[in-house]
Amino acid sequence: MGGVIRILQDFEGTSVNRLVPGVMAGLVGLGVLVGALCLVTSPVRSVFLVVSGVGVLMALGTVLARNLVHSALYLVAFFFVVACQFVLLEVDFLAAVQVLLYIGAVAVLMMFGIMLTRNVQGAEPRRRGFFRYLPAAAVAVGMMVMLGRGILSGPASEGLADWRRQTRPALVKEDGTLNERGKLTNNLGLVIGQEMLGRWVVPFEMAGLLLTVALVGSVTLAMGERGEEAGPGRDGAALRSPFERMSR
């Protein structure tokens, strides 16, 4: 319980501080209600809904937390919730990839970036205001509508789930052989590998080329021009500054 109170304290002093606990409590209440309803009809779906509700809370925390590192940690929790959803959808390969890439690499690099560039302890509150959120909210909602339309209007392949249908086809056909979905679930790594080096080989290689270009470009930027190498005399102040700021 103490943890919840501290999480709520995170939102103090923001312009939405009165709104957020109410919204969170309302969402939790709604989640409990819907969960109780669904538990009767479909246990797996209710687990999915509860997990998704936690995900929504974590997403809210990411956007609204005052401390930058707390915000990053909420994001880590959100990525983990997405991995849990993948597990509930029986694609453990994607769940592992989600954790490996988004928590193991992206979030860690983000934290590293916070340590190197900003006020190290992240204690300085971010400037905020309700109207600052409006453009971001518009972009987010627009993106959601676009992706939702795209996904819902896409046709399903033979033996795979259609997004508009609420049930998924069985893993095993009547004659005992594996359905398309069963094959995917059994060895998704193999199937993705074959697709990537078969049908999608050109986009795959293009993505690789793009990443190489980005890597070389960043190395070039980081190296700077010749003779401008960072020495302790010139750049020492900049290097030490995070720790000086911390000790104040």
Partner: protein
């Protein structure tokens, strides 16, 4: 190792019929009892062996030959005061060690400790909590979460030493993950699956993957990179005592410190397990598929086969863990530039060059297992030596003050 008795529950028919019973057995008897106990005695073994290496006796007061020392340590840690610095971020301060311990525990969920049973096609089912089709990916993913725990504990302590330790740790974890993953690829390529049980099953059929030039190089790389991943000497810069007090866990005491301790030795155990499963055949005996043949028979034969395979696995893990203690007692700590240089200039190029050579081994030896492997050995051995020479040569070409690093790196492996 008394806890292993209960792990056979899985191999039994009742365990196959009622899955939740199996999971409950693994959780209660494996993750809550056997693994922490193993870890406690790994700590004792390290202290005893470090004593031998340093010409001391080591702990010998509690119980016969000091065998109750871990229990005494545990009681001490539990009863010590749990101090949280006033300036620290209390939630994050707790979250750090918890995330680290969870990541260290969760990794073990896909490691096959023995043979288990046989499925309809005659493949092993593995003595494992969960046989995920993407097991190795899961293992690496959960291990990479530990970076978040290390960062949080260093950041939340509001201590310069802790923060410096965390920065070093994150840089090191991110760097050494790459050679580690590159070095696991040959085993996956030869097994044709990400499932660790399948990797073991293929090694029973084809012989241990370490018996090949690319396999040996990958094995050494995976061990070195994993030691760096778990912050053990000589890669223990994040907690370098002489520079950073205790690094990222400077501000921890009592059982929170105990959790760091548990996670570190759990990780040592996991590195032993990973190396054994990927390259040393898991529970397989060398040059024979012997205990696998017993699996099709009666329940007693099945139990016997599992005892043999679990015992073999335990011996391999023990040897790997001993190797890590030996390295820790022998080698001095690296400098930061040496650490980064060793990963990026030596291990990563070697891992990349190793991939096509592994593919060649696959074509020459694994695709047709009945053919003589002499040509495969000659070709891949020659190419592997070329690759090693190339990487070592490029690294030690320039002569000058800065290249002490290069020569040291090449001495390390070659």
């Amino acid at each position: 190792m008394s806890g292993f008795a209960v792990l056979w529950a899985q191999a039994m028919p009742v365990g196959q019929a009622v899955p939740w019973l199996r999971y409950a057995a693994w959780l209660l008897l494996g993750f809550a009892a056997a693994f922490p106990l193993v870890v406690a005695y790994v700590v004792l073994a390290e202290r005893k062996l470090a004593g031998r290496f340093q010409d001391r006796i080591g702990p010998n007061r509690v119980g016969p030959f000091g065998t109750l020392q871990p229990i005494a340590d545990l009681i001490k840690l539990l009863t010590k005061e749990d101090i949280v610095p006033e300036a620290a971020d209390p939630v994050m301060h707790l979250a750090g060690p918890v995330i680290l311990t969870v990541s260290a525990m969760a990794v073990l969920a896909v490691v096959p400790m023995g043979f288990g049973g046989l499925d309809e096609d005659g493949h092993l089912t593995g003595l494992v909590p969960v046989d995920l089709p993407a097991g190795l990916l899961y293992l690496i993913a959960m291990a990479s979460v530990s970076a978040v725990g290390v960062f949080l504990s260093g950041w939340a302590s509001r201590n310069k030493y802790a923060l410096l330790g965390a920065m070093r740790a994150v840089a090191q974890l991110v760097s050494y993950e790459i050679p580690q993953v590159l070095a696991t690829v040959p085993a996956l390529l030869w097994a044709g699956s990400l499932s660790l049980v399948t990797v073991v099953d293929r090694q029973v059929e084809l012989g241990w993957f370490v018996w090949s030039p690319p396999g040996f190089v990958a094995f050494v790389t995976v061990v070195v990179a994993s030691i760096a991943e778990v912050n053990r000497a000589p890669f223990d810069l994040p907690e370098a005592e002489s520079e950073l007090v205790a690094g990222f866990h400077t501000e921890y005491s009592g059982m929170r410190f105990g959790l760091f301790f548990l996670a570190e030795y759990m990780n040592v155990f996991t590195v032993g397990c990973l190396a054994s499963v990927l390259f040393l055949g898991g529970g397989a005996l060398p040059f024979t598929s012997f205990p696998k043949g017993l699996l099709g028979g009666s329940v007693a034969m099945m139990v016997l086969a599992n005892v043999i395979s679990v015992g073999t696995f335990a011996v391999k893990v023990g040897v790997m863990v001993f190797l890590m203690f030996w390295v820790r007692a022998t080698l001095p700590r690296l400098r930061v530039d040496q650490l980064m240089g060793f990963a990026w200039k030596f291990l990563v190029p070697l891992g990349l060059l190793n991939l096509p050579i592994s593919a060649l081994w696959f074509e020459l030896a694994i695709r047709e297992p009945d053919r003589s492997r002499v040509m495969a050995w000659v070709w891949t051995g020659f190419l592997e030596l070329m690759a090693l020479g190339m990487v070592a040569g490029v690294n030690s070409r320039k002569v000058g003050r800065r290249d002490v690093v290069g020569s040291l790196e090449t001495d390390w492996v070659a």
